[in-house]
Amino acid sequence: MNRLGIIVVGAAVIFAIAVPFFLKPFGIYLISMWAVLTIAAMGLNLTLGYAGQISLAQGAFVGIGAYTTALLIQAGWPYPIVFISAGLLCFAIGWGLGYPALRVQHHYLAFVTLAFTTLVFLVLRNEEWLTRGIYGISGIARPTLLGWSTANARDFYFFCLGALTVIAAATWWMLRSPWGRAFIALRENPIRALSLGLDTRRYTLMAFAIGSGLAGLSGALYAPLVQFIEPNSFALGLSFNLLLMVIVGGGGCFFGPFVGALVAVLLPEWMRITQSYYLMVYAAIVMLLLAFCPSGLLGLIERVIKATRGRRGPDGIAPNAERANP
């Protein structure tokens, strides 16, 4: 990361720590939701943005994580173990869902994962003995960690922010390792990657499993954040919303999901001033953004930075030479 990047990230961290002191409870709830969904979007960015495997099942994994968490908390398990269990369960199921991706790609894979989301929704709704069906699970307690109670909205926000920071650091570190390079190679040219010794099967499964595991961790925060979960929250809408976050932020950019989740969580709320038109206005903004900037908001910023540097021309590379296949 260059110096400008460090300054921007540092300012964002300070802002994220300071902002709950100036917000009403609903505002704190929204930024907590941002932190929680950023984790899930980061997982999808790994699967889709880096490794190039489309998935419309990310919302279902958030649901699996949330239900696992709600049920285990009510069964009296300590929260740290619940948190890890939700992640591991989704990792394992995600590994299984990766198998179709070894056979089909692109829109076929989108349909496979879409069917999975529907399946999960039906299980959550119909298997009442386990999930309590459409009545949902309410009264999910927020955890107390080493004597620190997160029951208060602001405390829980800081807990979510801390979890986001740790998970983001781990993801950053993994993407800098040879795995990150292998995921990009898998996305850009799987046949060449295979001929260079990359076990593309294992990397594909791993990309699905880790992406799903992050969704599970996100779900483990989601359940105590909203304190009431029901199947509809994890239907296709959430998966589409997470996909939107990745694409609006900039797929394959590390910070894309942070920006994308901010847009997807806050913009609809700001649009409420337009009353009943808000979803229409929101949809129109998203369409315009993607029509003029298919590489997302961070892609747009990157392009602007490169264009201004290119004009100065320090290395003699034409500014329009990058991104040979956007």
Partner: protein, 252 residues
């Protein structure tokens, strides 16, 4: 001399079409074997069967005496068999250096030790040496997709060498490259060959390139080998002129 690659009676059919029809040959340690033949003669299919990209209908492939028929390309690569493709195959959004590191990293430890190892898998210096060898040093940090066609072609070849392979199969390395770059590429391939005692198999259309680079040439037509020998013999073989060069060939 040991055979690095041994292909015996290899066959590949697609429905009713026989693309490779009982081909047998050996590649000896340290040689540069050229395989020529008109379009549709089965050269690329032969390559793809040898390299595990396609499952052959019949016949066997051995690398260093080990049977490798039907082995996955990634496992074959880890045995030391590397290739380039007819069409350019670099990773456009990775930098030149990262293209080379990714081409070698899977040979370093296991998948799980790599996760906890160094970010460059310990290959940063090796990548820089390879970049220097192929004279791409000034482009090391550029995205591969922003390089010119000829530079990408050099990178493409460099990637195949990154893991220090025992055997490299080059599929039309000269395709679409201009004459200056072609001489440069040939000279680099020869330099690599003599420096590392590598073994190459080259599929190529460009006759001058094959004649200058290869120590032995096989001619493929309609899925069969119709001739084999030193470049000079091949050039004057009447069956070859008939099948490949054509009657009207004015070449000396």
């Amino acid at each position: 001399m040991t055979a690095v690659l041994q292909v015996s009676n290899l066959r590949k059919t697609f429905g009713g079409i026989t693309a490779v029809d009982g081909v047998s040959f050996e590649v000896r340690d340290g040689e540069i074997l050229g395989i020529i033949g008109p379009n549709g003669s089965g050269k690329s299919t032969l390559f793809n069967c040898v390299l595990g990209q396609l499952l052959p209908t019949g016949g066997q492939v051995h690398v260093d005496g080990k049977p490798t028929t039907g082995m996955r390309p990634c496992d074959l690569n880890r045995l030391g068999v590397s290739r380039t493709f007819q069409l350019l195959q670099v990773f456009p959004q990775l930098s030149v250096r990262d293209n080379l590191i990714v081409a070698g990293q899977e040979h370093q430890g296991s998948m799980y030790t790599r996760l906890f190892g160094r970010a460059d898998a310990g290959l940063g210096d090796a990548a820089d040496r390879m970049i220097e060898f192929f004279r791409l040093s000034h482009l090391a940090d550029e995205q591969a997709g922003s390089l010119s066609y000829g530079q990408q072609k050099l990178l493409d070849a460099a990637m195949a060498f990154m893991a220090g392979p025992r055997l490299v199969l080059l599929d039309e390395p000269a395709g679409g490259v201009n004459l200056t770059m072609l001489a440069n590429l040939r000279e680099r391939l020869q330099a690599y060959h003599s420096e590392h005692k590598a073994t190459f198999v080259v599929i190529e259309h460009q006759m001058e390139f094959v004649m200058a680079l290869c120590t032995r040439v096989l001619v493929l037509a309609e899925g069969r080998i119709i001739a084999g020998g030193a470049p000079q013999e091949i050039r004057s073989n009447p069956a070859v002129i008939d099948a490949y060069l054509g009657h009207g060939s004015a070449r000396p």
